[in-house]
């Protein structure tokens, strides 16, 4: 259904890559995306862009929200305006909060069985006891029948045995700075750690091209930020970094 023709883009071919070489989360399959909590936005962004969802159909985002939240627990709701910035339509999003992991997997299974959705994304944290070979196989059968992609995002989790087609590890990568040492466009480091029926281990460094609304592969070497580029550690609390854009603060007090 889909092929990885050029697993590791060489720096020379990074200018004009064939699209097939970019990582995709194919339809009718189950994919796992691993990430740490700090890289959660990158993992979600990768899943949203790489997933082969049919355009106007809604995306289902399944989360777990316990009835009694622990004190100090953080919720990470999607920010609609941020989605618009990246060309994603927040109106397509349907968010389902399950009460526990089992309920989330069951709701995901029901959603995968129904046609009419663009993609099913499931967020899970830590050890997912209910997720094993059997339940992943169920998800795959449902996804194959309806032909929609199912993505399981796993935060701060060790990989466990499953029948998933692909398993990815996503982390944020240093971006190419814009003018005035501003953080640049989203950059990710994506590794294909497992793939059923094919070689794995490929690694990409993807940069978001705002102009075209697609990922572009960038050479992996830039991942290592040389010590010289790094700003020197500040010596005191009042040191002023040159890392501020030289322009007046955007005053938005209405």
């Amino acid at each position: 259904m889909f092929h990885f023709n050029a697993p590791v883009p060489t720096p020379g071919s990074a200018q004009d890559p064939p699209l097939a070489s970019l990582p995709r989360l194919a339809r009718g399959q189950l994919h796992e995306v691993h990430a740490s909590a700090d890289d959660w936005a990158s993992a979600l962004f990768f899943a949203l862009v790489a997933v082969e969802a049919q355009a106007p159909r809604p995306l289902l985002l399944l989360r777990v929200r316990k009835d009694k939240a622990r004190a100090g627990s953080v919720v990470m709701p999607p920010c609609g305006e941020g989605w618009l910035n990246l060309g994603l339509d927040p109106a397509r999003l349907v968010i389902v909060d399950a009460k526990d992991d089992a309920g989330m997997l069951r709701a995901g299974l029901d959603a995968a069985r129904e046609g009419g959705l663009g993609a099913v994304l499931m967020e899970s944290w830590g050890n997912l006891r209910e997720y094993d070979l059997v339940s992943s196989r169920r998800l795959i059968l449902a996804a194959e029948r309806s032909g929609i992609p199912v993505v399981l995002l796993r935060g701060d989790a060790d990989p466990c045995a499953s029948a998933a087609h692909t398993r990815w590890t996503v982390a944020s990568a240093p971006s190419v700075p814009l003018d005035g040492h501003a953080p640049g466009h989203p950059a990710l480091r994506v590794e294909l750690t497992r793939r059923r029926g094919g070689p794995a281990g490929q690694c990409w460094r993807l940069e978001w091209s705002e102009e075209h609304g697609v990922f572009r592969p960038a050479p992996l070497e830039e991942l290592v930020v040389s010590e010289a580029e790094r700003p020197a550690p500040p010596s005191g609390a009042v040191a002023v970094l040159p890392a501020v854009r030289e322009r007046a603060p955007l005053r938005r007090t209405a």
Partner: protein, 462 residues
Amino acid sequence: MRLAAVNGQAAALGLCAGMTLADARARCPDLATARHDPLRVTRELERLAGAMIAFTPLVALDPPDGLVLDITGCAHLFGGERALVDAVRTLAGYTVRTALADNAAAARALARFGADVRDVRALPVAALELDADGQAGLRRAGLATLGDLAARPMAGLAARFGEVAVSRLRAILGEAGSPITPLRPAEPIRLETRFPEPLARTDDALDVIEELLAQASQRMEERQLGGRRFLVVLYRSDNVRRRLAVDTGQPVREPAAVMRLLRERIDTLSDPLDPGFGFDAIALAVLRVEHLPSRQIMLEGHREGQADTLAALVDRLGVRLGQERVQRLAFCDRHLPERAQALVPAATERVPPWPAPDDRPPRPLLLLDPPQPVDVIAGVPDSPPQRFRWRGRLHEVRLAEGPERIGAEWWRRRGGHVPGHAGETRDYYRIEDALGRRYWIFRHGLFTEKPDPRWYLHGLFA
């Protein structure tokens, strides 16, 4: 353009319905006008008619702007006719003219043409509502009131002004009947099956419910309705009633869709559906209905079906998890980032399209709720952080952009317009740490506003 209706104040100034707008403006330059919307007037009249059911079961519309209430045998319930009229006036809420008479035609004529007359015979001939020629003819004949007309032979009247004039006159005088066609409240959809022997198996009971749903679906189809709320009551032989209610986001008719929701509801019951010694009877009621036209099967259309399956899925998950757990992200026109959006239940609320992004600095992909307090080393007063500690880990800031200054919503605070009481201004920075993670961080308060403002992480960028 002409005035369609005027209120009491305008009438006191000498304006009346039918006057041209230019004339009205000449008399009253600061006249406030609104466009006449006959459809909404009709709807409002229908709503009022529905409300009048409180006084009598027989309410009829008298278009374009009247209602006829048959209060035969109802007045004593409200403490007499006068009290009833007062109650009707209060409920109507508008400036209304009321009249009581022995028959509907007389009441209508008195209300519309009898400003201060009680006797129908004293009504002006205009109450017959003839055309302009007929009215002019009556006036020229020197006939001013209905009493004058009634004293004359009807045959001559009919020959001169037509059969309509005579029939209207006889109706107003009560010599001929003036029946009304009252609005009939729609018959509720309610079905029941009683069994000769108690039904001991839950599966059989579900089959019966499906059969009832099929009948209800047929009735709804005839009336072009779809149900939004279904209630099943199971009467057990030991006089225990079990109620199962399901709500749907879209009006539905298909028995299969409702059955799926009911099964889902039965699964979530804390104590299972126990038939005990059996069910004596099962009743189904469609408590809320909405208009649902019959759908034409399209040759090429699959999109309709997709919207349906999504609505069905939303309903099912809503029944299982609770409707407030199936949500959509809606835009809110608010100033603070965390208030600029809201999660609304997907089943009940429509989400309008999001506005196109403007050219303000980018927002993160995910927000942190609540914002996470972090320990920060940063320059004073307006510098981005140089390093910060979050969850016990130290992050070196490599790149930074900002500040984007977002003021507090002082217009929503009591006394917020007073300087110094507006609330704390936030300075947002977009920063990237040495590992390439991008954060949205803000300082809560300027140094001029408070001595030691705290820093918070408020979002994660991709």
